[in-house]
Amino acid sequence: MNGIFAKRRARLLAMKAIRDNYIPGDQLAACPKCGGESQRKDVAGNLSVCPLCGYHFPIGAYYRLSTILDPGSFRELNEKLPAADPLSFPGYREKQREAQRKTGLTEAAVTATGTVGGRRCVVGVLDSRYMCGSMSAAVGEKITLAIEYAMKNKLPLVLFSASGGARMQEGILSLMQMAKTSAALARFSEKGLLYISVLTDPTTGGVTASFASLGDIILAEPGALIGFAGPRVIQQTIGETLPEGFQRAEYQEEHGFVDAVVPRQELRDTLARLLRLHEKGGRP
């Protein structure tokens, strides 16, 4: 019986993942970094990485999960947690509906349990296509519930960040999610459990200043923009142009804020290895 459900889950995730692995353009996909054009199917078949220059296209949450989790192991957590409008902000409901239509998501975070290299863990993913992956009360709540689920079941936690920062339309409650998720991680950490944070393009603002920066291990995808203040704001503040590569994953690695920059093709194996290294005895 388990087999049937596993198959069904695998099919469900595969379907959602196909929709998420969409790269704009007809036959050819243009890379925003090198400008080179590649066959769309070549890009899609390469985990949405430009075959010419290695640029990592942003990817949707379900596709991300399908690239990380063992087939058939995916089980979504709190799938139905609704989007909210705590300040009754003008025009916000419409914006949410538009984002939902565009992405097929209910909010900017998807959380799930599954196995990576045969080891069970909890995985959360922010989706930058949904209102820039910004932190709403629902996103903060989903992440917190995922942390609590991992804590209760003594499972390692992996969070993929991709966020423009706070959700403006939710005001102070968006800010409070930074405190809530960080406090949840403090309790999680006290239990001796592992949290791996993976920073993807872009990770900025309130997400950088909370759970994204609190991993026992912090990984980043090549070229990802990672910072608290965005480059435009910094440029306006200091009135000079920013150095090449500023706030990119490689810069953050050099400045001591990232353990390793890991290409998308190697992420699953790297995570599997890290999970193994945190098991008693580290047996292979």
Partner: protein, 270 residues
């Protein structure tokens, strides 16, 4: 409490004559000893902190510092801390825990400094670390927003058991100008933003983000500072007393429960 528009309160919160952290320290505490430096990189004058006596009890005081004169303002970077400031704050709070001193934080900042060096030294990491560690402190933590409390730069000192706000203080994800410029690409619409953001003390009290609002004299705290200090002192004493009776782990657990509820059932908050 007086009726004012949110934009009027923002203007009062930023009033150049409004009392700053040094005024509060002089008025509410005795025997203040300033502690400098994060022990890692440098001293950040945008954060002021140290040990003092509060009604005879040793406490740790930390807060953002806006200057009064032009020279002082520049030295304090207009109250916008860098990562070194937040790391100093964390150092002092850990020390407070070691010596079982309650922590008082005073917040008046337009936000964490968005500069190149601040980024290079991990502004985001410094704020995140403070949020995480403050949530687990086993001594009482009381925070007061005295003027503006903007963004993660304010929150990094505000994971508290009790959050107090002066009547005309404001607390928000970012400045109304920044809000308007991000949402409508027009910083000129900041007054409209003020009303929508729900950033005034009464708004935040209603949302459960603030626990108490300290009345200010008509016209604002700067017109009768002594009266404001008296009101604030009374409120701080009132809030500190029950916290002193709790054990450390219970304090940390209740603080967690308080933040756990924030936006937990978003539907009912509307």
């Amino acid at each position: 409490m007086s009726k004012r528009t949110a934009a009027e309160r923002v203007a009062l919160a930023r009033h150049p004559q409004r009392p700053n952290i040094t005024d509060y320290i002089d008025a509410l505490f005795t025997d203040f000893f300033e502690q400098k430096g994060d022990r890692l990189c440098r001293e950040d004058p945008a954060i002021l902190g140290g040990i003092a006596l509060y009604h005879g009890r040793p406490v740790t005081v930390v807060g953002t510092r806006k200057g009064k004169t032009a020279e002082e303002s520049i030295r304090c970077n207009f109250g916008m801390p860098g990562p070194e400031g937040y790391r100093k704050a964390l150092r002092l709070m850990r020390q407070a825990e070691k010596f079982r001193r309650p922590v008082f934080t005073f917040i008046d900042t337009s936000g964490a400094y968005p500069g190149l060096e601040a980024e290079a030294r991990g502004q985001g990491e410094a704020i995140a670390r403070n949020l995480m560690e403050m949530s687990r402190l086993t001594v009482p933590v009381l925070s007061v927003i005295t003027g503006e409390g903007n963004s993660g730069g304010a929150l990094a000192l505000a994971v508290a058991d009790r959050m107090l706000m002066l009547e005309n203080a404001v607390y928000a994800i970012l400045s109304p100008e920044g809000f308007a410029s991000i949402l409508w690409r027009d910083a000129g619409r900041h007054e409209e933003a003020c009303e929508l953001m729900k950033l005034t003390a009464p708004d935040l009290l209603a949302m459960g983000v603030a626990d108490d609002v300290i009345p200010e004299p008509g016209g604002g705290a700067h017109l009768a500072p002594e009266q404001t200090f008296r009101e604030l002192d009374r409120a701080l004493s009132r809030h500190l007393a029950p916290l002193l009776k709790e054990s450390g782990p219970v304090l940390a657990e209740k603080r967690w429960q308080k933040f756990r509820k924030m936006g937990a059932s978003p539907k009912e908050e509307a």
